[in-house]
Structures are given as structure tokens and as C-alpha cells.
Amino acid sequence: MAIDLDTDYWDKDVVRSEEPKEYNTLNVGPTHPATHGVFQNVMLMDGEFIVSTEQTIGYIHRAFEKIAERRPFYQITPLTDRLNYCSSPINNMGWHMTVEKLLGIETPKRVDYLRIVIMELARIADHIICNSVIGVDSGALTGFTYIFQDREYIYEIYEEICGARLTTNMGRIGGFERNFSDKAWTKIRHFLKTFPAHLKEFETLLARNRIFMDRTINVGPFPADRALAYGFTGPNLRACGVDYDVRVMNPYCSYEEFDFIVPIGQNGDTYDRFMVRQEEMKQSMHIIEQAIAKLDKMEDKETYYASDPRFVLPPKEKVYNNMEALIWHFKIVMGETDIPVGEVYHCVEAANGELGFYLVSDGGRTPSRLHFRRPCFIFYQAYPEMVKGNMLSDAILTMSSMNVIAGELDA
């Protein structure tokens, strides 16, 4: 709990000395087991309580925005993978949707539903990491080993669809590179059947655990108006009580046809963030079930890309057999297509909040300017305000419950 260092005191009978307080400096990071990624906090401590903290980031600055000015649109997808690498498919799909907005491509409904299935799986994967690591940071290592098995299962699903486990580079501008195989569907259905039980098991370890609750309730609370002023989005904002979800407010990719609850918390402390993410995982399962039901009802089970030959890379079977597809493939890869001049901003609900892409094109093969609106970068600014007056161990838990990913922080 936060105390006021000037007025509160533990034991009212102790006579306070008149000597001035001595603070000492503690350097947390950049290499530290609790910081998930490389960022540094130099904390000024009054004993065990934190007076102020100074942050240094940039230890993994890889100049994504500069690299993006040199790559054609389809080569920027691997860069977006490495933003929030715990849930790469969401970043990939968000980027593809931005480019589709610029080029004016309409994706068919089947592609939208397939994208939703993948994005919700990625959201579950990211929340698995965040919640299990909150447990690890408070000393509960068992939950981590149990629930990571499900993340391995999600990796197997990704491998069936795109071939890679973590940095997926999934999908194309306009759809996917291949239709989902039957094995992928079997695995997705199996996951839907088995994951709820595992999640329940993980939840019983922590959610009503006396020790965990004592360590996380009222730790790092943040009022909703300050959170909005600091640009919070995603589960951190929803834990403060504001129900802002990009999927509901500005629906993209046919999300308006789906029925799901947006969970919110009360006072924005660590326990609320943990429980909001737990509930979001259950809602993601619900969305995937609805998407599979819609896909089963559709007669068309073959479309997996938009049919706009000017910008959408044709599938390889057509390229090797059909003359027009070969020519279009050549033109798109070599950059002979007419990219329209313009600028767009598109945002998706990533696992950490609103991930936005501001793309400015001047007609060339590569963007003229690409700016990523990275949620981690924006909400991490509020960390000094959140931990002021708290104890060091509470500050560590606050940091891990905010789910700061270094790749997204620095880009």
C-alpha cells in the first residue's frame, strides 16, 4: 500500500528524529530477472520505500521506423513481428489491414473470420505469458510451468498455418498465404476443448490465493482520469475502469458481428490487471468459438485472399501455371505497381492496447514515413507516478503486471 512519506509512520509511539532523511540509490536493470526486457530504473529509496524513479530505455533500439522507410510493404511484416513478440500475429494483421486501407482492398468475409481466429489465439498467448509471469515475480513458479504447455500448443497451431513459432510473419496483404489445413482446424478445436480446464487450474492456483491477493490488491493503483491523460489503452486502462476497446469503438475486420464482453476492473491495481487479463482470455475463447461456427456455416471454404491482382500476391500454384499471375507477381515484387499517394492511420486492439500504424506513402515502393503507435512506450511513462511511495517488491509486481515488452518499448 502507498504511504505518505511525510505524515504517515508505522509506529506512532516512535519519536521521529529531527535529522534530515538520507536516501540511497538503487539501480534496477537493465539486466534484471524481473524486468522482462532491457530497461533501467534508477530508484531513489527511503529505506524500503521508493521516493522517485528515473527511467532509461533504448537498450534495444533497433530503428524500426528508419528500416521501414527502406523496405517495400510486404517486407515490413517481419519488422512488425518483432514489436510485441509475444503476440506477433496481431501485429502482422494490423499492418496488413493498414496497407489494405491505403490501397483500398476489400477482404472477403472468410479472410476476416480467419484473421479473428488467429488474433484471438495470439491474444490468449500474450496473456498467458503476462499472467504466469506475474505469478513468477511474486514467487509462484508452478503456474508458469503448467500454463506454458498451452502456449506450446498455440505454437503448434501457428506452425501448421505459417511455419514459424514465435515471430510468425503470418499472412499477406489481402489475406493469407495458404488455406488453413485440416490439421490446423483439428488442433484449434482440440485447443478450444482443453484450454478452459487448464485455465481454470491456473486460476485456482492464484486468483483466490491469500498470499497472492495480499501481494497484489491495492498495489500500484492508478485513477482512471490520470490513466486517460497518460494515454493508457488496453487491459491497463480497462483495469482502471474505462471500457475502451478498439474492437468495440472502431470495429475492424468484422468484429462488429461478434458478441463478447469487455471486462473492466475497479481501481487499476495489480490484481485488477491480472483478473482483467484472465477474463479476456475466456472472452477470446468465446470469440474463437463464434468465428468457427460462422466459418462452418459458410459454403465457401476455399477463399483465403482478396481478389485484387494489382496488390495481392497470387498463390504460388497460380504463379507457376498462369501467365497473368506470373506477371502480376513480378510487378508487385519488383515495385512496378501504382501505389496511391496518401496517408492512413489504422489501429488494432493488440494484447497491450491500441497498436496504431501511421503510414504515409508518396507513391513509391517503400513508405515515405511509418510511425508505430506503441502502447508499451506510452503507458510506461506513468510508471514513476504509479510506484511513488510503494515498496520495492510492490514496484516489481506493478511493472510485471503492466506487461511491458522491451521490443515494443524501443522499436
Binding site: I57, Y230, M249, N250, I378
Partner: protein
């Protein structure tokens, strides 16, 4: 696509022009977002007006980024604002001469702009008057160049093991 509400866009433009007159240089609807260019002297007042005016209430700064226009020799800043009350998004642009790029800070309006402006300074060299701590944030502190400007090369110039001709540069 964001919902395009013509009355709302018209309301924002007319209120801004009523309040600031000629300082609003141009406005247009690009794809699905209203994009307004203002001159740099009034940018702080424009942002404050957009946040506080009852019928607009742009309470959320989505993002802030810098731009380099080499042919006009200008550096610019682009703000994306979002009004939760009306579900309306707009884009505000300003630009100024590259030799003296100074803008008023937005940190007093939204504290979220703090690190965003530091990043813009780090990448482009744009100075923000009134910013509490305008130092480099992502690059190394002893760097003297501004790497996102168009003339700065992407690759590390001190490496000697990669042959440019083989790598297509």
C-alpha cells in the same frame, strides 16, 4: 475504416476557423480521417481548444510523431487526437522551417506527450518549448545527429566487414 461523420467534421472545422481564423491553413478528408494543417504559432492553443471545448472534447492524445519534408526543407509534427465522448478521430499537422524547429509542448495538455516529444526530438531534432526534460530517449546520449532525417544513412558507417556493392546499397 473509422466512421466518417460529415456533420462532426464540419463542426470541428467551422469551430476552429471561427476561433483561429487564418492560422488554420487547410483541411481535407483523407481516406477516413479529417486532417487539419495549422500554423505553428497557435498549435498549443488549438490543442487546448480541441480538448476543452464542450462539443468536441478530444480528451485522448493517440500519438504524436515527427515528419521531415526534404523538398520544402521543413520539419513537422503530426498529432492524432481521439474524442471518447463522440468517437471522433482527427489529425493535426504543423510544420516549420528546418533551421529553427521549435514548437510549443503538449505535455501541459496531455502528460502522454512527454515521451512522445522526447522521441520526436531524438529522431528529428525538433525542440519543444516548455518540455520538462527534453533529452534523448532511445538513441545513445552522446549522439549528435538526428537519425530519422532523410539524409542520415540507415546502416552503421563504421562497420568494415560488409561490402556495400554486394548488399545492394
Amino acid at each position: 475504416m473509422f466512421p466518417i461523420i460529415p456533420e462532426r467534421n464540419q463542426l470541428v472545422v467551422s469551430k476552429l476557423i471561427d476561433q483561429f481564423g487564418d492560422a488554420i491553413e487547410s483541411h481535407e478528408l483523407l481516406k477516413d480521417m479529417l486532417c487539419i494543417t495549422v500554423s505553428k504559432e497557435v498549435i498549443h492553443e488549438v490543442l487546448l481548444f480541441l480538448r476543452d471545448e464542450k462539443e468536441m472534447q478530444f480528451n485522448f492524445l493517440t500519438t504524436l510523431c515527427g515528419m521531415h519534408y526534404p523538398e520544402k526543407e521543413q520539419l513537422g509534427v503530426v498529432y492524432h487526437l481521439h474524442s471518447f465522448v463522440n468517437n471522433h478521430r482527427i489529425r493535426i499537422k504543423t510544420a516549420t522551417d528546418i533551421k529553427n524547429p521549435v514548437f510549443a509542448t503538449a505535455t501541459t495538455i496531455w502528460p502522454a506527450a512527454n515521451w512522445m516529444e522526447r522521441e520526436t526530438y531524438d529522431f528529428y531534432g525538433i525542440l519543444f518549448e516548455g518540455h520538462p526534460n527534453l533529452v534523448r530517449i532511445l538513441n545513445m546520449d552522446d549522439m549528435t545527429d538526428f537519425p530519422m532525417r532523410k539524409e542520415f544513412p540507415l546502416e552503421d558507417q563504421t562497420r568494415e566487414d560488409k561490402d556495400d556493392s554486394m548488399f545492394g546499397r
